[in-house]
């Protein structure tokens, strides 16, 4: 199953006489890319810029895109993953492990929830997770991609994706 199939069978809606309907692709994928970056960064700033950069890069080379090589969404998310990684690496903005642990130990969850948005809190907790697990959370809950498609994007097996996500969500719940 490709990412297109994972997206509720929307691929057929994108097709017009054997050509991709780019407007439909944009309308469907833009919110998913946007939310992928929100989850990846854990905030709203920079998200629009990274989303725009992803689409501009994809649009520049879309005439060379071959549907038989990869689903468009797979290709698009590969570009997004790369842009996100470069951005995070350039900004070196991951919180150190200590900061995330501090969140889990200081005060009560209720008080923290009052002080920060749930997304920001999630980002702080995720900062203590390995890079791969943060990426899985963003793909699963930000982009709403199923495990099989995530496996395709990350090179992990589908069962491995499921196992890791289950464990990560359990960890987040314990630390919330």
């Amino acid at each position: 199953m490709t990412l297109e199939h994972a997206a509720s069978g929307r691929l057929t809606e994108f097709m017009e006489t054997n050509e991709l309907n780019w407007d439909a692709v944009y309308a469907h994928e833009a919110p998913r890319i946007y939310n992928y970056f929100r989850f990846r960064l854990g905030r709203d700033s920079d998200v629009e810029e990274l989303t725009a950069r992803t689409f501009e890069r994809a649009w520049r080379s879309r005439s060379r895109y071959r549907r038989d090589l990869a689903g468009f969404a797979t290709w698009l998310f590969k570009i997004a993953q790369n842009i996100g990684t470069d951005h995070l690496r350039a900004r070196r903005e991951h919180l150190p492990l200590d900061a995330a642990l501090e969140v889990t130990t200081e005060g009560t969850p209720e008080r923290d929830a009052e002080q920060r948005s749930n997304l920001a809190r999630l980002a702080l907790l995720c900062a203590a997770l390995p890079e791969r697990e943060r990426e899985l959370i963003a793909l699963k809950y930000g982009a709403v991609i199923n495990n099989r498609a995530i496996a395709e994007l990350t090179g992990l097996s589908e069962s491995n994706v499921g196992t890791i996500l289950h464990r990560v969500v359990q960890t987040l719940r314990d630390q919330w």
Binding site: D23, Y26, A30, P31, Y34, N35, R38, F39, D44, E48, T51, A52, F55, E56, R57, W59, R60, S61, S63, R64, Y65, R66, L69, A70, T74, W75, K78, I79, Q81, N82, T85, D86, P109, A113, N118, L119, L122, E131, R132, I137, K140, Y141, G142, V144, G155, V169, L172, R173, W176
Partner: protein
């Protein structure tokens, strides 16, 4: 409503992008599409115009040359080889000579035994007869031999005047100095030797003691290969050690470094924690190609040499060194693929291609070449020999023989002229030494080495 992470809670953290953002971005993308279409139309018109001008020029040149006596003279002049009496005499002397064996494992797609790949063996039915007619012998590593064969074929329409033997540099120089015997004890000699290093003083002494006293050295350029990915994803930054650990068939066990194990690495961050957790996938030409051979001889060897005990094997156990340092893994991490390479690289950011330097240099809008140990591949770093993916190439000519065999002298002249014009070098792993040799120097009499 629960307020702790589960599937529903996490998905409720999603938000819709603002309509203003979506519409602005869409308008920008539409504008980008229109400007791309305009650029394509301009490119198409330019290509049509260039084709018309080029076609006309070819047609005029054809008409002029066809009726020109000079053209007919030229064709006769380059038809060298069998007609030369000296060549026949020398060939008769050679008929009992054995052929050297390649040191590169055929199992790795390396060079097969020399007799199989020699120029005269290209026509199997009468291979022995062809060999007996060869006027001179060229021996050396892949890039030198492939380029020499092609030059001979293009300059004379045939490469039958010469016998081409694929060997290692050391074997080629031993043949050149009349000091080579194969495992059966048969002697093989070469009139021209290609090498990826300069001849050693001791080898020159051997030449002298065996009567080879007129030797000229030609700097044949540089062999250079690169790892590259799509320009979309920027240039990878790798070390030679990363490359070796990612692609060698056997690598030192991380827990017991003195023991070799089957390569266990499948992601770049397993090779080097500073790299991304991306699947290792390297696409390249067949292992028998000049590019793959150059890759094994340069980047793989450079990475292998970062393990001192493996580097020491070159002296203590050359066969094991060859196997350990120059054998690519065959578990699918390195794959032959050149169809739709550009599209594949654009689709998969983790995919890396092994390419000739000249190919990448000619398409900077398509490929981003990896720097190795902080050095980017480029003419300057190649000529300075600081880029690990390149090495200088040399050719040694027995000038006494060249002056007595017209076909050989003519071949050497064509070869030297090719060095002044990189476009005439078709083996793309070779980079002509333009910065080193002027056309004037190349056309001067062959400078002989002092003994």
């Amino acid at each position: 409503m629960k307020n702790e992470p589960d599937d529903d809670f996490l998905q409720r953290l999603r938000a819709e992008p603002s309509r203003k953002f979506l519409s602005t971005l869409k308008a920008n993308l539409d504008r980008q599409t229109i400007s791309q279409a305009k650029a394509r139309r301009t490119l198409f018109r330019t290509a049509i115009l260039a084709a018309l001008i080029g076609g006309s020029a070819v047609a005029v040149a054809f008409v002029v040359l066809r009726g020109s006596p000079a053209a007919r003279t030229f064709v006769r002049m380059v038809d060298i080889g069998p007609a030369q009496s000296a060549a026949s005499k020398i060939a008769a002397e050679r008929s009992g000579g054995g052929a050297p064996k390649s040191i590169v494992s055929p199992a790795q797609g390396g060079v097969p035994p020399a007799s199989v790949v020699s120029g005269v063996a290209a026509a199997p039915p009468d291979a022995s007869a062809e060999r007996s007619r060869a006027a001179f012998v060229v021996a050396g590593p892949t890039a030198i031999i492939l380029n020499a064969q092609d030059l001979a074929r293009r300059s004379s329409g045939s490469n039958k005047a010469a016998e081409f033997n694929l060997t290692s540099s050391t074997e080629a120089l031993a043949m050149f100095c009349h000091a080579y015997r194969d495992t059966a004890g048969s002697a093989s000699t070469a009139d021209i030797a290609g090498a990826s290093r300069r001849i050693l003083p001791a080898e020159l002494e051997t030449c002298k003691s065996n009567g080879v006293t007129h030797v000229a050295e030609l700097h044949s350029g540089y062999e250079a290969v690169v790892l590259a990915r799509s320009r979309l994803y920027g240039a990878p930054k790798l070390s030679a050690r990363d490359i070796y650990l990612a692609l060698a068939a056997e690598v030192p066990d991380p827990n017991r470094p003195q023991i070799l194990i089957k390569n266990p690495y499948h992601t770049w961050n397993a090779v080097d924690g500073a790299l991304l957790e991306e699947k290792i996938e390297v696409l390249g030409p067949p292992l028998s190609s000049a590019t793959a051979a150059a890759f094994r001889q340069t980047l793989m060897v450079a990475g292998c040499a970062t393990f001192p005990w493996l580097a020491a094997l070159e002296q203590t156990d050359p066969k094991r060194y060859e196997k350990v340092c120059r054998t690519l893994r065959n578990d699918g991490v390195y794959r032959d693929k050149f169809e739709r390479l550009r599209e594949h690289l654009e689709t998969y950011p983790n995919s890396i291609a092994l390419l000739d330097f000249r190919e990448v240099a000619a398409r900077p809008d398509t490929f981003a070449a990896a720097s190795v140990d902080g050095i980017e591949p480029g003419i300057d770093s190649i000529v300075a020999e600081t880029y690990a993916g390149s090495r200088a190439m040399f050719m040694y000519v027995n000038t006494e023989r060249a002056h007595s065999i017209f076909a050989m002298l003519y071949f050497v002249d064509v070869y030297r002229r090719s060095l002044a014009d990189s476009s005439s070098i078709t083996v793309t792993t070779l980079v002509a030494p333009q910065r080193q040799a002027s056309a004037r120097a190349i056309l001067a009499p062959l400078p002989e080495m002092k003994f």
